[in-house]
Amino acid sequence: MRYKNTVLRIAGFLAGLLVLLLVLNTVFSPKRWYPEGYIQDRNARTAMLSCEEPETIDIINVGDSESGMDFNPMTIWEDKGYTALNIGCDGLTLPECYTVVKKMFRTQSPKVVLVESNLLYRSEKKRLAKSMTAEFFYDAFEGLRFHNVWKYVWKERGYRLYFKGYILNGFSNPYEGETDYMKPTEKAEDIQMMPAFWMERICSLCRKNGAEPVLWSAPSPINYHMAKHNGLQKLADKNEIRYLDCNLSVDEIGLDWSSDTLDKGDHLNCFGAEKTTAWLAGRIEESIELSDHRGEASYAGAWDPVLERYLEMKDMMKGYHAENLPQEVMDYIYNGGDFREPGF
């Protein structure tokens, strides 16, 4: 009897807790807050994903800041008419990537999922373990990821710009080191067990949902060398996926390290990102057939104004250094200016 009572009390408490979590999940739903400018932090890209029109995205890109800064969906839309989203952002972990991809498949059916490889080498066990449990929780109660929106009661709302996930940055800080950093070697910097496990999970999730996972490495002499390439190629072979390493094709891409990098070879600026993305899109096309949506009424309203604004802002940034910016550009960087993405 006592045992039964205890079980009933625990079950009752947990049921109440579940109700509380569901209420909070609804209250903090990104669909409610992102369009109103309440989500501007690192989570904005994930929130953006929730607000995209269902079944409209062809390509999704995930990864850490290398991916966030070096993949530009605007280029793909302008050149090819494919719709792409960039969910990569600083410090994104593999479990976070997995949750994002899983979430995306609930509303979208992209044909390609790009995974930038830098995060596979930034996956300390402890960080992965922490992220894994957090993501398990966020996967069930996504709204809690955006619990900080209450702060905007005391804060001016803004519309920090994410051009379909890409933050425009036109400044350049040249890389002056070795340009032939991919020197041939037989050595391979193997991927550790946990990151490899998560990569495998992402791949099988993609296949299950009819998307092709593609591993790629952003061009970066700071972060890559041949041993890493070899390790990543081994991982790609094991998972039977394509591996596109931009570092081996810097000349083909047409990168100029004196003008296309944002921070001395770590990340690219928008000019470098455009070249890289164009090259990537070309490689993707080789194996996957995608449709050109330019001119389609259902896409034009959501994509053309964003591209128009992107080109305008890019011109504005050209030639400026971070320390000498006009007010309008400053406003854009810190507040997103007065621009709101169409539909919001």
Partner: protein
Amino acid sequence: MAYHENLYLLVFLPLVLIFYQLVPARVRPYILLAFSCLFFLANSKWILIPIALTVLIWQCGVLMERVRKETEEKLPSLDKAGKKELKEKTEKTAKRILVFGILAILAVLFVSQYLHFTLENIAGLLSLGGIRLKIPSWSFFPIGISFYSLEAIGYLVDVYWKKIQADHNPFRLGLFILFFPQVMEGPIASYKDTAMQLWQGESLYIDRISSGLFRILLGLFKKMMVADRLARVVTCVYDNYNHMYGIMVILGAVAYTIQLYMEFSGSIDVVIGSAEMLGIRLPENFRQPFMAQNAADFWRRWHISLGTWFRTYLFYAVSMSKSVKNVNKKLRKKYGKYASMVGTSAMALLPVWLATGLWHGPSWTYIFYGFYYFAILLAETALMPYIDKLEERLHISAKTPWYAALNMMRTWVVIFTGELFFRAKSMHQGLTLFSHLFTGSFFPKRGVWDILTDQRAILLEKADYLAILFGIVVILIIDICREKELGLKEKILQGPVLIRWSVFYLLIAAILIFGAYGAGFQAVELIYAGF
């Protein structure tokens, strides 16, 4: 896997509770021991160190007891003089075993914590004479070593003092040393109070689980609502210590003191709550420290288990030693009662506070911190008779409200000043910050609030300060209720289900909505886990 992390709270602890309840009572302690080893390994690879310490104290304890038992058996056959001689010889042997055990523990502690520091200082001294010494860097830090080393020494001394019998079960001793909730941050428990509880393997009870859960939620509230936010203010002040205004130094010291309290007492709440769920009562470590009337009172309320340990095993031992007693006698004879009281206090307090400072880690700031409290406490002892006389003349007592408030605020100044140095990475940093109180501009040209809400410097928003204020007010109310012994927790836990559950849900909701977690927040590592 620290106590505030979701991996501990949502995976590890529930797994322990489930496994613990599912197995028969006699197996439960072993389950706890296995999970404790797992917890240790998740945080540090040096598990052989606590295991070696366990084996050491187990054997030392058993040896001491065996020597004494053999003596007991021989005694009836001896005459009075023989008995006395044998007893003395036995106690000498027991003392040798004790000293060996303590030295071995201290040696491990020294190598892990202080060897590098010592070599660095020797190299510094030698460099003055033009000799260059290259010190190899190594990483040898078994987590929580400062805590379980004291527990191990306490056990040996208790066996030597015959307060407890030596434990012949190494697994029980191992569990006492490695028990997962307390291995990282204490509280420093005595064998007598915890070892047997740990070994009983009692069933889980819903009342204990809910009481433990309440404590855990309170701890998380303190850390996530207040401590992790204040950490940013503190980091900003200490990282820019060369260019700080006086007012910012004061804010930094106050913020750090509150952060440390919320963080340390919060994680101790999680620790005690976790143990409580398993039916194990651990000693309290905090008792409203900011309501202390003086520095001595503060140390009876702050990190209580450390204070108790030093009082029991160092202060009393030194006070009762022959040499201190002799000095006391001489001082009393030559200079009177007052001088002997101050002199004896100084002799007993000095090693205690030097050890307290050093215990926190290998840094001159910690040594300074120890000496700082030594000076403050000695001054309090020396001034006590005069203050008593003054109170008598003015017809006031410690219970007079305005006087009590004044004493409390005076104690805050002592605490904040101490913590200003405690947080500093070096004496230079601490002294520079302290000097900004008296030199340079006290107020910044732009408002203090502007600096505090500068997104590029401190990364806190106005809303974060409101959350901090809300958190502090809630904890203050709880602390006042505790101080007045209103039994708030008991009233909630024994009240109607609706009220009890509402309080739980409110706490959970507050943590989930206002807690500092998720994007833009890096959970701050537990400060005392580094000691």
